[in-house]
């Protein structure tokens, strides 16, 4: 055995070996669960610019935690100091030992360097390295101290509610919390004996009695090694599996691998890439307004990972996408929900023969207007759109004027993918045969479906995009009224499809738009989203009222939205005026 060995290294060694073996087994198993398409995508894209962008993303997210910084500076600092600090401790430690020792050396030398190398002038810049390593240790320790504080008072890092962890996670967390104070202690003892510390460990070392240090040096290093070993062994079974998995997940995502409708190896990577940071909890409407425990994405993924998924949890989600917008890892949370909602026994060939008789209208030179089911409950929107079409002399085919075939998205969200596909097939057939060049829809649910789930050869627009285009091209002349309005971003249109700019620009043209507290990605769900079938009307009302009071905070004259469902939801609340973008545009058309 080399001179760089001492029995206290053994717990650390066992930990590392167990960690590597378990991780390899898991990763290989998950990779084998990928389907052929996913595997081909990886091989095809591995040598491309995507690989570089994955490296960049890894540095920005896995090490620096940019998205967490955006949420709260202290929270970002806490995460990045532990991740980046520890990473640098390992890297700089390895460089230091590489320069100091030219002969054969074991891989753990960087971890226990101070114990084995006492000469503080072993090489030219040895002093510098000693100070730099101390600085890094201080950096990590500051993060750990912040984590201690966060566990007592989480509001300091901007979190109202933190995760309720399972016992195993708490155990691993305490091991992690012990590692760095123990490292400080052991290096200080060694510094007391051999004067080889940096500015931090040497100062502490000078305060320690020589005999005390002599007695406690080995026990301290042993405890440090034990803490490391314990953490490594618990890592693959706890939330800390995300440390490696997140990096692999970023690469898979950047290389273009995506979720399937069924659970695949990619889902397994996603489940383990969740660090259970709890950022998704605070803004989940089901937590914020209803205090429902255990349904948020973090708990849903955890239960799924530990193979005890509960059906009622999978079903209890509004699918408002708020957690997806918040998630610092960028997990595809909604697809995983849908995968778990898949109703295999019920999702058989449906009884939709009745739609087969519907014939397309010859629409060459026309556009299609697809109002969507929900718009038929808000005739004002349909009336506004038909008026606008007539105003600009646009010939159109009102595809679902008398009889509506649903777009299929509501079925898909509830886990009926075969039945949803039947509706999509018929709609696609009608649209293709009509010969129209463009499809305008008034419902963001249909819009998202046409955009993402259909593969239509023609352009698809939401009516806000279309009106925006008309205004830009000068076809539609509008006056400006003197109302003050607020705009509510519908989940499906905003977070779902990224349409934030067009409705706002339209409103700025025709009226005075006030800013609200929860805008764009941070928009609040109206509570009526079709994603959830579990909560009752009373609970929906609570969520709706919360969104409503946030919108009414600045006393606007009316609330404007771009979704028939949101409009209906707010309309039910009170006699407060709620209008769709199309309606307010129609009112302000200048008639020549």
């Amino acid at each position: 055995m080399s001179i760089y060995f001492s029995p206290f290294v053994i717990p650390f060694l066992i930990g590392v070996i167990v960690l590597i073996i378990i991780c390899c087994i898991k990763y290989i198993r998950w990779y084998n669960q990928f389907d052929r398409v996913q595997k081909t995508v990886i091989l095809k894209n591995i040598i491309s610019w995507r690989f570089l962008s994955a490296i960049w993303e890894t540095i920005m997210e896995a090490l620096l935690h940019r998205k967490v910084f955006k949420r709260s500076f202290l929270l970002g600092y806490m995460h990045s100091s532990i991740a980046l600090g520890w990473f640098l401790l390992i890297i700089v430690g390895a460089i230091e030992s590489e320069i100091a020792i030219q002969t054969d050396k074991p891989f753990w030398i960087g971890i226990f360097y101070r114990y084995f190398v006492h000469d503080s002038h072993a090489f030219k810049h040895a002093q510098f390295f000693a100070h730099f390593m101390d600085l890094l240790l201080l950096y990590v320790l500051s993060g750990v101290i912040l984590a201690y504080i966060k566990s007592i008072y989480s509001r300091i890092v901007g979190m109202k509610k933190t995760t309720k962890h399972v016992i195993f996670d708490t155990f691993a967390k305490f091991a992690l919390w012990l590692i760095f104070p123990l490292r400080l202690l052991s290096e200080s003892f060694t510094a007391a004996l051999y004067n080889n510390g940096g500015f931090l460990t040497q100062t502490l070392g000078n305060m320690i009695n020589y005999t005390v240090a002599d007695v406690l040096e080995i026990p301290a290093w042993t405890l440090y090694s034990f803490a490391l070993g314990t953490f490594f062994i618990s890592m693959p079974f706890s939330r800390y599996m995300h440390i490696f998995t997140e990096v692999i997940f970023i690469f898979l995502k950047k290389l273009g691998v995506g979720e399937n409708e069924q659970i695949s190896g990619y889902t397994m990577f996603e489940l383990s890439a969740c660090s259970r940071c709890g950022i998704c909890i605070d803004n989940c409407p089901l937590h914020k307004d209803l205090q429902l425990p255990g349904v948020q994405s973090i708990y849903f993924l955890r239960d799924l990972r530990y193979k005890r998924p509960r059906e009622e949890i999978a079903e209890n989600c509004l699918m408002c996408n708020r957690c997806v917008a918040e998630c610092p890892v960028g997990l595809d949370l909604m697809t995983i929900r849908r995968q778990m909602r898949y109703k295999k026994d019920l999702d058989t060939h449906a009884n939709y023969n009745y739609i087969e008789n519907l014939q397309p209208f010859n629409s060459i030179g026309r556009i299609i207007y697809f109002a969507g089911c929900m718009s038929h409950l808000t005739p004002g929107i349909i009336d506004a759109m038909t008026t606008i079409f007539e105003k600009v002399d646009q010939k159109y085919w009102f595809m679902d004027k008398d009889r509506t075939i649903c777009c299929g998205r509501p079925l898909l969200q509830q886990g009926f993918s075969i039945q949803a596909a039947e509706l999509r097939r018929k709609n696609t057939q009608l649209i293709k045969q009509s010969g129209a060049t463009m499809l305008i829809t008034s419902c963001p649910i249909c819009y998202q479906s046409f955009k993402k789930e259909y593969n239509l050869p023609i352009q698809v627009m939401h009516h806000t995009e279309y009106i925006h285009m008309l205004i830009k091209s000068g076809k539609l002349k509008l006056r400006k009224d003197d109302l003050k309005v607020v705009y509510h971003d519908p989940c499906e249109l905003g977070r779902g499809c990224g349409i934030y700019r067009q409705p706002r620009e339209i409103l700025k043209t025709v009226t005075h738009l006030l800013k609200t507290k929860n805008e764009k990605e941070k928009s609040l769900c109206c509570g009526y989203n079709l994603g959830n079938t579990v909560i009752n009307l009373e609970q929906q009302t609570k969520i709706r009222n919360a969104a409503m009071s946030s919108l009414r905070a600045k006393n606007p004259d009316l609330i404007v939205t771009a979704c028939p469902m949101c409009k209906k939801a707010f309309k039910r609340a009170s006699d407060f005026t709620v209008k769709d973008v199309a309606e307010i545009v129609k009112e302000n058309i200048i008639s020549e």
């Binding site: 009884n351 519907l358 929900m374 509506t404 509830q414 009926f416 009526y528 009752n536 009307l537 009373e538």
Partner: protein
């Protein structure tokens, strides 16, 4: 006899003692709003599937509640789950959930 263009359905007698209401109880456990229905028919009036065919969710609801499950499983498959019925219901019955759970319960009981 004069033909008026409609006919009167035969009188039906349902013997409640012969009805198996186990499924109704099960549905009530899953969707508690199910019994709030006052049979106003707003759901059927707005139903997208109803525009094409004689699918009638109000009737299905009534039959289910009386324990007459025959044929319902197949009929329910005509629903597109678009959610208009849930939105117009004046009593706050969670119809989408009701339909999904009816299908689940009927599938289970038909398997037996």
């Amino acid at each position: 006899m004069i033909k008026f263009g409609f006919n009167i359905s035969e009188t039906r007698a349902i013997n409640l003692e012969d009805c198996d209401l186990e499924n109704v109880k099960k549905l009530h456990r899953e969707v508690s709003s199910f019994k709030l229905c006052v049979s106003c028919g707003a759901c059927s009036a707005t139903c997208s599937a109803r525009q094409f065919t004689d699918f009638n969710i109000r009737k299905i609801h009534a039959s289910f509640r009386r324990g007459q499950y025959a044929g319902l499983q197949e009929e329910l498959k005509a629903c597109m789950l678009c959610g208009k019925c849930t939105l117009v219901c004046p009593r706050g019955v969670n119809l989408r959930s009701m339909i999904i759970n009816m299908r689940k319960i009927l599938l289970e009981s038909n398997k037996k």
